[in-house]
């Protein structure tokens, strides 16, 4: 039987990992919704956000949680540049071009970072990393709980922004029907820019929080997380924030629980095997199963 304390610990770990994925997925979802563009280089924005946070923290030593908004601002500006110089010129020239452009961006950013700051892994030591919150028999790291709380705040703020403000409404209108929105006097190109800025900022937040929790940062960390974010959108449904939250948490928890369950199962059958290597493939298995059952994705016809 599995130890219940261990189980809670894994659950919190999964929640925390899920939060990072959700922040990434919601940004990707927003950009996709407004521009109908999939930015495969979205994970690179997470990577750049983490590096920005790392350097600001290393040189200033201010509270790491204050570094995150700064990184978000800088990466949002970068997002605007990417949208203006990269995606806007090729809009409407075909889906393949968007994929290829993202590939170019991935190459550019990964190697630029490797060139500037080497491929060594980086990490910071958060001032709260030794603090943990006791919950029954288990101790939960404070940073994880703070990250979960911060993500919740971001999500609520984002939801309120999209539902209650004029800008948020304009963005939703653009994602529903671009032409009609333009006819109603919405500057759709500004909405494109804004969605890219917001999406990039959320990716940077994910990167910054990832760094604070003591995880390693390297130039190639973005690719796999971007695809996990993509899987979350497909599972949770296009444009759905609650869907993304549920899918993100499920994926975060499944990634941590499934290998353990499989290991217990193998032990039961008399094998001793480790399934930790399969952690990163779970998102793909889910992605493949969902897409085989629904080849157009849960995006449906809206996607084209």
């Amino acid at each position: 039987m599995m130890d219940i304390g261990l189980f809670i610990q894994i659950l919190v770990w999964g929640l925390y990992a899920g939060c990072i994925y959700i922040l990434l997925a919601i940004g990707l979802n927003l950009i996709f919704g407004v521009m109908k563009v999939v930015n495969f280089a979205h994970g690179e924005l997470l990577m750049l956000g983490a590096y920005t946070a790392f350097w600001i923290y290393t040189y200033s030593h201010i509270n790491p949680y204050l570094v995150v908004p700064l990184a978000m601002l800088l990466i949002a500006l970068l997002g605007v540049v990417i949208e203006r110089l990269g995606f806007r010129p090729i809009m409407g020239t075909g889906k393949l071009n968007e994929i290829f452009l993202s590939l170019g961006l991935i190459y550019l950013f990964q190697n630029l970072v490797a060139f500037l700051w080497s491929t060594n892994t980086r990490s910071i030591h958060s001032p709260y990393s030794d603090v943990s919150v006791p919950l029954g028999s288990v101790k939960l790291p404070l940073d994880y709980l703070v990250i979960i709380a911060i993500t919740s705040v971001f999500l609520i703020a984002f939801q309120l922004f999209m539902k209650r403000t004029t800008l948020g409404r304009a963005m939703r209108a653009t994602s529903q029907n671009r032409e009609a929105a333009a006819l109603m006097g919405i500057n759709v190109e500004r909405m494109d820019m804004l969605s890219f800025a917001l999406g990039s900022a959320l990716a940077a937040a994910a990167g910054g929080l990832w760094l604070i929790s003591g995880q390693l940062v390297d130039p190639y960390m973005g690719a796999i997380s971007a695809i996990k974010a993509f899987a979350i959108i497909i599972i949770g449904g296009f444009g759905s924030i609650p869907g993304a939250i549920i899918a993100g948490l499920t994926l975060g928890i499944a990634e941590n629980v499934v290998p353990l369950l499989m290991q217990s199962f193998a032990n039961l059958l008399g094998f001793s095997m480790s399934f930790t290597a399969w952690k990163d493939t779970i998102a793909f298995f889910v992605l493949i199963i969902v897409l085989v059952l629904r080849p157009t994705g849960i995006f449906g016809e809206k996607g084209e």
Binding site: L101, G104, L108, Q110, L112, T281
Partner: protein, 321 residues
């Protein structure tokens, strides 16, 4: 003086082929240069294979899966059965084709983005499977592979070069025949408009799967050739780089054309090798990323469209505005 476009293309092709055959004679036995050229030939095969799949509108981001499977199957067979690599690489290619059909079955109904993601995912999954089957594949340490030409033969690199050249030419001729056949037309029709293609009586599923199988077959052969050249194989062969290189080569050369992947591979390989020998590491990859971005925006038909583009800009100057 005016050249007929077709005959000029043919002459250019024959000219570069003669040049390729003469290189070891002109430049002597330069092991470094020949190694670069051998890898270039491998990637010409690989890019042409990728290009065949994208001809049907299916852009795979995980072709390293087929490249690696071809390599592993061929390496393991050559080692355990003692067969010559030239025989086992065909088996490797066939095995990759079978996996290609299986992956294709899950992919053919998907839209461009989903297909890109899912193929990428398959590469990661197959890499994990390979690394976990360590009794067969040596895990992350990899296994040694038989050399295509034994190193003990004097000037083996020259033999290897000519063998690669012959195989590459043969593969390109086969792919050319496929593209010029009814199948090539069907693939292009599917890419332009799948629904219309279906209405015209084209069996979309069949042709898309065939494109997957043939593309995977040649990618597997390319993978087997590469590892029999290097003499070892590790799961790194499934890396993102290996998936992305053919895309970069094809786009920079020119998508959907026969000469695009070849030209792109030659230009980018020389650029890459040149910058590498000057001591640049990441700078060259940054440059290649920039080239990719700029080409997608400003030259979406690749380098092969450059002469036509220049001609049209020059001639448009004579048109009074």
């Amino acid at each position: 003086m005016r050249f007929d476009r077709m005959s000029m293309r043919t002459w250019l092709g024959i000219g570069s082929l003669i040049l390729a055959f003469l290189i070891p004679l002109i430049l002597g036995i330069n092991t470094y240069l020949l190694t670069v050229l051998i890898i270039m030939l491998v990637f010409i095969i690989y890019s042409s294979a990728w290009n065949l799949l994208v001809l049907s509108g299916q852009a795979s981001l995980g072709h390293a899966a087929f490249f690696g499977i071809g390599g592993y199957v061929s390496a393991i067979l050559a080692r355990s059965l003692g067969l010559p690599p030239l025989a086992t690489l065909l088996v490797g290619g066939l095995f990759a084709a079978v996996i290609g059909v299986l992956i294709g079955l899950t992919c053919i109904r998907m839209r461009a983005w989903f297909l890109a993601m899912v193929t990428f995912g398959f590469a990661v999954i197959i890499r994990t499977i390979t690394a976990e089957l360590s009794w067969l594949t040596g895990g992350w340490d990899g296994i040694p592979a038989k050399r295509l030409i034994p190193v003990t033969i004097p000037n083996y690199i020259v033999y290897e070069y000519y063998m690669m050249l012959l195989i590459a030419v043969a593969v390109i001729v086969v792919i050319y025949l496929i593209v010029k056949s009814k199948m090539g037309l069907a693939l292009e029709a599917i890419r332009e408009n799948e629904l219309e293609a279906k209405v015209m009586g084209i069996n979309v599923t069949k042709y898309k799967l065939m494109a997957f199988a043939i593309s995977a077959f040649f990618a597997g052969i390319a993978g087997a050739l590469e590892i029999h050249h290097f003499g070892y194989i590790t799961p790194e062969v499934y890396g993102m780089d290996i998936s992305f290189w053919p895309i970069i080569y094809c786009i920079s050369g020119g998508l959907f054309t026969m000469e695009g992947p070849i030209l792109g591979t030659v230009i980018i390989t020389f650029l890459d090798a040149g910058l590498k020998s000057l001591g640049f590491t990441y700078e060259r990859l940054i440059l290649i990323g920039l080239i990719l971005i700029l080409e997608v925006i400003f030259l979406p038909r690749g380098f092969v469209s450059l002469p036509k583009r220049i001609k049209s800009t020059v001639s448009s100057r004579h048109i009074p505005r």
